[in-house]
């Protein structure tokens, strides 16, 4: 019973940190202790490992979610030209 409760609490603790762990964003880093604890838990908990896998797959799908099109290079060129114009006017 105690073991099950401890496992549940650890899963809850882990679930709240998986996204930050995977994103590794400099604004919200996990401490080395949190990373170790999370990695230890993921190594043994099938449910949380599955959640981490889902997070990774979702992030990948969202990053690809673009229709395969690229940034319109003409827009980039026009804005770059605009920036050059500002620079030139300032230098003149």
């Amino acid at each position: 019973m105690t073991r099950t409760l401890r496992q549940m609490l650890t899963c809850h603790w882990s679930a709240r940190r998986i996204q930050r762990y995977l994103d590794a964003d400099p604004s919200a880093p996990l401490t080395p202790g949190e990373i170790s604890r999370l990695e230890e838990h993921l190594a043994t908990c099938e449910k949380c490992t599955e959640i981490a896998t889902e997070h990774r797959a979702l992030h990948r799908a969202l990053s690809l979610w673009s229709g395969g099109t690229a940034v319109d290079p003409r827009s980039v060129d026009r804005v770059r030209d605009f920036l050059s114009t500002i620079n030139d006017e300032d230098s003149a």
């Binding site: 797959a57 969202l62 690809l64 690229a70 827009s75 500002i86």
Partner: protein, 168 residues
């Protein structure tokens, strides 16, 4: 500033949903940034530019019509404006084609505040701080909204190969 042009255009198009308006917004943003460059401390240039972009957009809307518009009306679409430059692989095509509608529906079903966080961080690859600059909220709020958005989309796609990890 040049390396940030593409990011600014991508975020601007998400906000305006219109190519011409996005270009206007980015040009106005760069002009304001150029005028304010002496006051910039040199740290986090992208976040600085995105803050100016957000404020510029709000000001442009104020000029166009009376009153202010809500933050979350600014992010009008969950669909990314444009994506990566390299050619997609066969797997990418599958993800984009077969699963697109499920993903699209799941993201569109989100509360606009949550959707904004998810699109800015996961689609446009902004950092939490940069997304916070665009949304005008603290980083902690971005994290909280991103977590909720991600959980909801993940759960709604639970039975699709997208989140079973078959393709990862």
């Amino acid at each position: 500033m040049e390396p940030e042009i593409e990011v600014l255009l991508r975020v601007a198009l998400t906000i305006t949903s219109n190519q011409a308006d996005a270009e206007d917004l980015v040009q106005e943003t760069l002009l304001r940034a150029y005028r304010a460059i002496d006051r910039f401390d040199g740290r986090y240039p992208r976040a600085w530019l995105l803050t100016i972009l957000r404020n510029t957009n709000a000001n442009m809307h104020r000029r166009q019509r009376p009153g202010t518009i809500g933050d979350w009306e600014l992010i009008r679409t969950a669909r990314p404006a444009f994506g990566k430059a390299e050619l997609p692989s066969a797997e990418d095509n599958f993800l984009d084609g077969e699963l697109h509608s499920d993903l699209d529906a799941a993201v569109r079903a989100l509360d606009p505040r949550f959707r904004a966080a998810l699109v800015l961080v996961d689609v446009h690859d902004l950092s939490y701080a940069e997304a916070a600059a665009v949304m005008g909220v603290p980083v902690g709020t971005v994290m909280s909204r991103l977590s909720r958005a991600s959980d909801r989309v993940r759960k709604s796609l639970r039975f699709s190969p997208l989140t079973r990890g078959d393709l990862s």
